[in-house]
């Protein structure tokens, strides 16, 4: 009966109820679609870094005057339980054949058999007469597989285009085989990448590397991605929270709307409440009645809002971030519903309390 009365009462002022409902819908939509957006953002960004999470990267400590590694350094690290990938790099000019264009770019020298560890999305095998080109470089200079680039007057065929993994290989770059690189620039390594199969071992490998290399003075800097990944994760979680906070503001406004509707309803129904009290309604009955109304607004609004936000979230995540909605995003939808219903109930607590505590005599006199 309470539910019936609550429904009919909301129907009595249908336009007002719809407006209050709209507030909740927009609020829930804002909170959950911004949550989904944050989640998608995080997934997109973290996904970019996920490929390098298995790396420990060792740089020479330039502050102490160490600029590159030698073969001896590489050998020292070989006793670690991981794949040791020496990487050389230099900036140089590359000509693009047939386009009469030159480009400054970072040139990497990597052993042919090591390339597969670097998560470059490169399938074909690198040879001593071919190069790999980064997708960014390829885009900017309009280079495709099969084109020729010229380095130190020698032509190389572009064998493959890779997606650089930021941390290890920079974006505007090309990769040569180690042998070819050595022929041009000599024998020096600008960094050593350690590929650790098991992410849990990363810290151990890091410590051991420090022990081996930094015996007397700090000759190397050791970095791993897991820490960075974690801090990116933290930052992205905060971004999500912030976005949801913005959504929360709209929900707050919706809550004020509901509170207002309920308060008006209390005032309009003063006499009715007085009658109900005189025929035996307790405070609890009156509060229940009002909370049912808030609950209807909250549940209906939240569910509609959640459905719409799934739609909006899907569009945003799919087309803007070109990733997909994750299970984590569904948590935001659930949170949106929770906040929507919670807001409606909290907003109507005061009006309900006020109605329950009306003096029945004054309420009855009210016309």
């Amino acid at each position: 009966m309470y539910l019936k009365m609550a429904k009919r009462n909301l129907n009595r002022h249908i336009l007002r109820s719809i407006l209050a409902l709209l507030g909740i819908i927009i609020g829930v939509m804002a909170i959950s679609s911004l949550g989904i957006l944050g989640g998608g953002l995080k997934q997109g960004i973290v996904g970019n870094f996920e490929g390098v999470a298995n790396f420990v990267v060792v740089f020479p400590n330039a502050e102490e005057g160490y600029l590159h590694f030698t073969k001896k350094d590489v050998d020292k690290l070989k006793k670690l339980n991981c794949v040791v990938i020496p990487v050389s790099s230099k900036t140089d000019v590359v000509y693009i054949k047939g386009k009469n264009k030159k480009a400054y770019t970072t040139i990497y020298g990597i052993k042919k058999e090591d390339i597969k560890y670097l998560n470059l999305d490169a399938k074909n095998k690198l040879t001593d007469t071919t190069v790999y080109v980064d997708s960014f470089f390829a885009d900017v200079h309009d280079v495709d597989t099969g084109d020729m680039v010229v380095l130190k007057n020698i032509s190389f065929r572009v064998e493959n285009i890779y997606n650089s993994s930021f941390f290890v290989i920079s974006q505007n770059s090309i990769i040569l085989s180690e042998k070819t690189y050595k022929r041009f620039y000599g024998d020096n390594y600008s960094m050593i990448v350690l590929y650790v199969k098991n992410k849990e071992d990363i810290n151990k490998i890091k410590n051991e590397t420090e022990k081996i290399m930094n015996k007397k003075e700090k000759t190397v800097i050791v970095l791993s991605m897991d820490k960075i990944l974690q801090s990116i994760n933290d930052v992205m979680d905060k971004v999500s929270l912030f976005l949801m906070g913005i959504g929360g503001i709209s929900l707050l406004v919706a809550g004020i709307g509901i509170g207002n509707v309920m308060l008006m309803s209390t005032i309009e129904r003063t006499k009715e409440i007085g009658v109900m009290k005189s025929i035996g309604a307790s405070k609890r009955d009156i509060i229940t009645l009002f909370l049912y109304e808030a609950l209807i607004l909250g549940v209906v609004g939240s569910v509609i809002g959640a459905i719409l936000s799934l739609g909006v979230g899907y569009l945003v995540v799919h087309y803007l971030l070109s990733s997909s909605i994750t299970m984590e995003s569904l948590i935001y939808v659930f949170l949106g519903i929770l906040f929507g219903v919670g807001t409606s109930i909290i907003a109507s607590l005061y009006p309900a309390y006020k109605a329950a505590n009306l003096d029945p005599i004054n309420a009855l006199k009210n016309e």
Binding site: Y2, K277, I361
Partner: protein, 224 residues
Amino acid sequence: MIELKDVTKSYKMGGEIIHALKAVNLKIKEGEFVAIMGPSGSGKSTLLNIIGCLDKPDNGDIYIDKIKTNDLDDEELTKIRRNKIGFVFQQFNLIPLLTALENVELPLIFKYRNTLSEKEGKEIALKCLKMAELDEKFASHNPNQLSGGQQQRVAIARALANNPPILLCDEPTGSLDSKTGQKILELLKKLNNSGKTVVVVTHDLTVAKYADRVIHLRDGEIKI
């Protein structure tokens, strides 16, 4: 059934203290039909509110069905209203959202919550409508589809729902034409004959014809 001992009540209105009731002593026996008459401002509505546990006196004791009500808390007063008293108002005061039958069911819901099945509730409500002599075909009507007399019958049925021993009526004929009013009074008399204690506050002199006793109230005091 109802006993008031030295009941006083005053309230402030526009900075002026109004003594609505001055040491009122009153005894109403079980099964009595009592009319309380008096001009406006004589304190008769205040008296009815105090008997009906809607208002508390400043001083004095009140007994309803042997229960001393003047120092009960809100919740206990609610229970007395629910179980001992049926209210009938001048303006009928039906809940416009509910059908006639649902209006009658409402006090049952307040009393029994979920312990009474819907079917039982409906049966009791229909029985009450019958006692109030309203045709069953009006049960599903909304209050605004009913005439004044019919609405007052629904209100009386509602007052009967929890089978209270006392009916308190505040100007029950005040909004009705004299013929309809008379029929309502006949109904109240019938209910009185079936055992209900009926207290009617009114201006209407015809009420006196039906009452066992008329109490005149003037300036907060009873004049016999």
